[in-house]
């Protein structure tokens, strides 16, 4: 229950190495943070160990918890690695190759001579047809032949699958057949997870819908088992609080919602980070920001305008389109482990990554390729030891790979080669920032850059300079923002209705549908236990000019004219023109939010000047400079910083370039500004 009475929330984020825990008393705003080694074989172990640790730090009992918040990468990893449960698809007779054909294209950027169609998550041999047919208006043209469903059930049993996806033609217009097929199959195959497109994505276009239903099915057994184990352990430890999981849309939802639609968590991790960044920015009074979350293999870039995180329904995961609501971010294959390579005297960086193992050469695990991290090491951007001294860097190895792999083939000095690697990877990220800003009609210079993730704060100043951005905010713990995001997240769900046929806006009809959707949202609020005073719902219309392929999401106005005017101005801002054509209504959407109490942020005490922890020689383009190094734990609120400076902490390293200066905000965040007169 989202109850304001005894609000004690715990957030758990499970990483590859460590599990991070944050416990928050929402009344006092006090936060206890801890971490414990992850237990990959059974992640629920570390989950409980961590919660107990935090509770004992706070001297509270398990029964006092009111919320357990969790971001999970279980679904993400199963989809990306193709390791979901063996799954079958049930489809309308005549359409068993729906996945094999896909959109029948060779991708625009692929080479037709070498491209290989990605292997589908379900092979055609596990796609079963049944007899039925519904038309686009939802009218049954061929009744469901239950005998064919029974035969399908036998075939599925013989395949020994663990999950079954049901996606029938035009089910978004009439779900009756899908519902009946699901019921029959559940009865016939009680140990198999059965799910339908109606439950996850009731929208037009059979390939994308079938694929999404299949992905949802493949992760369902794994996610269900995982959630079940967590809840079991919580229960035995006396935790009665509900388990809430982060979804790709940046909101949390109860475990029963996620069991039904686990694919909603496909981008759980990155979404949690974005929400965390927004929460800290809000504490600093920043509402317009661009987040850059840089990890080992990839970077996620997201724009937040006026405190609002944009959502999209045209996202992708790995090789697949996944048209579920997700935080509108751009992911690129650029991170600390991205490999720099020279071929035909061309230097490229990424998307190939050295991963965690062997990782960068500097980590000493046998990596023999030059990575972005190695370039940082060569230039002196990193301290000699990482993880609060727990891990030594092999500088000689980093120099060796950058020299052999990049400097020599290009005839450059080792330092110039390292700077080249960083210039290229920075530029990839600048390109992604432009996609979320310039291409969406925003000027990045109006935003604060918020770099986070293990490698983000090393690139912040360089990226901001390239983009003409003059303000940067470095969060207090940039490597572990997900836990903060979980604590700050609202409960969120979307209720959509796609009209059978796109048409002109009939304001009264639309308002009627909105009322129905709001009723659905009301039931969901009840089921999730959201108190009336924190409920919020917004009406959104997806509109386009008659005949167009893409829709724009527009806030539903008080009148038809107001709504159409809002559409026109958005079209003009995005695409540079408007048309005289009529405006069509495609989909109505109610966004339901259970607002969370905004947690006060821990405040640092003032401390004028911390001592330096030493100096590090950094190779700038103009030559070597001895740069002061500060331990971030030693910094108090109000402390001023003038670049160049290096800040070290457990989870990341921050590089403040010359021309930038900063101050430590009472929240612990560092606010950097570009000095006047420094060229962009």
């Amino acid at each position: 229950m989202l109850s304001p009475k005894s609000p004690l929330s715990v957030a758990v984020d499970i990483g590859g190495t460590f599990t991070d825990i944050a416990l928050l008393d929402r009344t006092t705003g006090q936060v206890w943070r801890t971490k414990t080694p992850s237990t990959p074989a059974d992640p629920s172990k570390a989950f409980l160990t961590g919660i107990n640790l935090a509770l004992s730090m706070a001297d509270r009992s398990a029964g006092a918890l009111t919320q357990v918040l969790h971001g999970t990468t279980v679904a993400t990893n199963m989809i990306l690695e193709g390791k979901g449960a063996p799954t079958a698809l049930v489809t309308t007779r005549g359409f068993r190759h729906v996945l094999a054909i896909g959109r029948q294209d060779i991708p625009r950027k692929a080479n037709l001579y070498t491209w290989i169609k990605p292997k589908r998550p379900v092979p055609p041999s596990r796609i079963v047809e049944i007899d039925e047919r519904i038309d686009p208006g939802g009218i049954v043209r061929l009744s469901l032949d239950e005998k064919s469903v029974a035969e399908a059930a036998e075939a599925l049993r013989a395949m020994q699958v663990k999950a079954v996806a049901v996606c029938l033609l035009h089910a978004f217009a009439n779900p009756a057949h899908e519902r009946r097929v699901v019921a029959i199959l559940r009865e016939a195959l009680p140990d198999v997870a059965v799910t339908s497109s109606t439950d996850i994505l009731p929208v037009v276009r059979e390939y994308e819908r079938s694929l999404t239903t299949v992905l949802n099915a493949t992760v369902m057994p794994g996610v269900t088992t995982y959630i079940g184990r967590l809840e079991q352990r919580l229960k035995t430890k006396g935790v009665e609080a509900p388990l809430l999981l982060m979804q790709s849309n940046g909101g949390v939802a109860g475990s029963s919602t996620i069991r039904q639609a686990p694919a909603l968590t496909a981008l759980s991790g990155p979404a949690a980070g974005v929400v965390g960044a927004r929460a800290i920015a809000a504490a600093c009074g920043i509402r317009d920001l661009i987040t850059v979350d840089i990890g080992g293999t990839s970077a996620d870039i997201c724009l937040i305008k006026d405190g609002r995180i944009g959502l999209t329904q045209s996202g992708r995961i790995g090789d697949w389109p996944l048209p579920l609501p997700m935080v509108d971010m751009v992911t690129i294959g650029a991170g600390g482990g991205s490999i720099a390579d020279v071929a035909d005297s061309t230097l490229t960086v990424g998307p190939r990554s050295a991963g965690a193992r062997p990782g960068p050469a500097a980590y000493g695990h046998g990596g023999d390729l030059a990575t972005v991290t190695d370039a940082h090491v060569v230039l002196g951007h990193l301290p000699d030891r990482l993880l609060d001294g727990g891990m030594a860097l092999d500088v000689a190895a980093a120099r060796g790979v950058v020299a052999d792999r990049v400097a020599e083939p290009l005839g450059l000095s080792v330092e110039a080669a390292a700077r080249g690697i960083l210039a290229i990877v920075d530029n990839h990220m600048v390109g992604a920032v432009r996609v979320v800003s310039v291409e969406r009609g925003h000027d990045p210079r109006d935003f604060t850059l918020v770099p986070f993730g293990g490698a983000g704060p090393l690139h912040g100043c360089a990226l901001a300079t390239l983009l003409g951005i003059s303000r940067i905010m470095i969060p207090p713990a940039p490597g572990v923002l997900c836990a903060d995001g979980l604590l700050a997240a609202d409960l969120k769900a979307e209720f959509n209705r796609t009209l059978p046929k796109a048409g002109l806006i009939d304001f009264d009809v639309a308002n009627g549908i909105f009322a129905e959707l709001e009723a659905e949202a009301g039931s969901w609020f009840e089921a999730e236990g959201v108190l009336p005073e924190v409920r919020l719902s917004n009406r959104v219309a997806l509109l386009r000019y008659h005949g167009q392929g893409g829709e724009l999401a527009v806030a539903w106005g008080g009148t038809k004219e107001e709504t159409e005017a809002a559409f026109a101005s958005q079209h003009l801002a995005l695409y540079g023109f408007t048309l005289d054509s009529p405006v069509e209504l495609i989909t109505l959407r109610v966004e339901a939010t259970g607002r969370t109490a905004k947690q006060p942020v821990t405040m640092l005490s003032e401390r004028a000047a911390a001592p330096t922890a030493g100096y590090k020689t950094v190779q700038f383009e103009m030559g070597g400079v001895d740069v002061p190094v500060f331990d971030r734990k030693q910094l108090g609120a109000g402390q001023k910083l003038a670049g160049p400076v290096i800040l070290t902490q457990l989870d990341t390293t921050t590089l403040v370039l010359p021309g930038w200066s900063g101050v430590v905000h009472p929240s612990g965040a560092i606010l950097l500004t570009r000095d006047a007169g420094v060229p962009q």
Partner: protein, 610 residues
Amino acid sequence: MLRSTDPGPSQFDPSESANVCDPVTLEIVRGAIGAAQAEMEALLERTAISAFIREKKDFYTALFDRDGVMAVGSMVPIFGDITGPVFAEFSPDSMRPGDLYWYNDCYGSRGAVSHSNDQVLLAPVFKDGKRQAFVMSWAHFADIGGIRPGSISPDATEIFQEGIIVPPTKLIDAGQTNEAALAIFHRNSRFPEQSLGDMRALMASVELGVKRVTEILDRFGADVVADALAQLLSRTRRLVRSRLAETFPYGTHCFTDAIDSDGHGNGPFKIRFALTREKANGHDRFIFDATETDDQAPGPVNFLMNPGVPGMALGLYYLGGDTSQVCNAGGPQALDEVRLREGSLLWPRFPAPLGMRGLTMMRTLAALNGLVNVAGGGAPAAHSAYVIAIMRGTFINDSGVRERFLLADGIGVGYGARPFADGIDAVYFVAQENYPVEFLEVGYPVRLREYGVVRDSGGPGRFRGGCGIVREYEILAEELVLAIRIDSVQNPPWGIAGGMSGGVGRVTVNPGAADERVLAPLSDGNRLQRGDVLRIETGGGGGHGHPFDRPDAAVLEDVLGGFVSYEAAERHYGVVILNGVVDHAATRDRRAPRFPVLAFHRREYVDAIT
């Protein structure tokens, strides 16, 4: 005879020492241009009106250097010299900021566009008053007038029947739009609101491209960008030439392939290619010669092949999966000379019709694969030409009113097997997508009964050829006239190195019923009515390698997945499958005596395709 010996102003490599763009900046400029291109394409896709552009995605973009040489193109080997036709009418030095140029004139552009539906918009980009680059957006317009809705028809006998012709025209003169030209153009379309909306989207996309390239010029400086483009060109040219030299020993290498028919009772038409590598003044010269190709056709299958096309296709082949390389004019520049014969199928005389040139274009690509293969290269086996079904007619809409419709449905085929992988199943071409079943049924008077792959249409081989597609429609229109375009029925896509030829396409009306009829594969004027069933099956790709070398597990998966029949598994692959399981002993026996093979296979093993 047409000799193209001057492939463009940037033929010679800039001296490496004179580079002003270092390798790091080069990569950054390349990334910025790629991003600009992606953004232009996204805008077109989201804002265009016709299904042809927004759902099928028949559009492309490119960037050219200040002299009009393509520096960054699309991954489609069908572009020739795009800017030359504009320069012939409007001197580059007379161009001003805010200009926009437009054409769809096939003959007037020497095949830069090869059927009139494709509209090309080209704009110069200036910095500090000097012309520094050009950007292009290109899209297929659904109807521009002509003999029948959709503008292209197998019935056409001259290009005047294939819609309005726009010679290179200044559409915007330093910011002033020539509204009259647009009005005339849209007035000639049967669907003027689509024409207008698509043109607006195309113009907005070029406008965006100009803006983005200007920003790139501002950021890096004109000289650096110019040098970057020159390096991208010379890099591609160098790579393609060195790979050509690896494939082609000195001497002349020949390959012949054929299209079946022109839809007017003529054919087959042979496409004959020769590539000669010779040494002149100590340097290699590569000469591409298509002059032996058969005479032009009375029907609209002529392909006015811009001399840049063979080099562009070979270039794309040699670039392969190398993402650090760019598809650009470096491909065409790798060939020293291209010879075409006026009056031939590949260089027809005005005003021969061109509307169905797609099938000849796709066969040309397959013949280029053959040319590489006879010289010892590792190109794919042949593919079928993608299939088009154009339906025009009337239906009674929801309000009870008779309404006119046009559906141009592009249907995928199987591509040829590679020496390292199966051919691609069920694809149309690069970038172009299908009309989903649910999309079709919402917008058009048809109901799909089946949409799947055609079993046994992929040529058997160690690597199987891709399978074609079956699409079966129930007609809900009151009446309609169907044009169909299928090739490679008489001359199926060849297999290589022991791989067998791919299956052939076929169109049937009311299959299995008393009034069943098979339609001519390239024909128009086929009348259908409400309740008819139209079944279209498309061809597959050729196989690669001896079918007995295909792992039995792969054959089993193909059988269970509906790509290969039990019978074909046994007959062609020697794999015996019983009750869904491989019978290993029987398979061993069946595979013990290997049937002998020859270099190519088209219905039977042959030494050469002729």
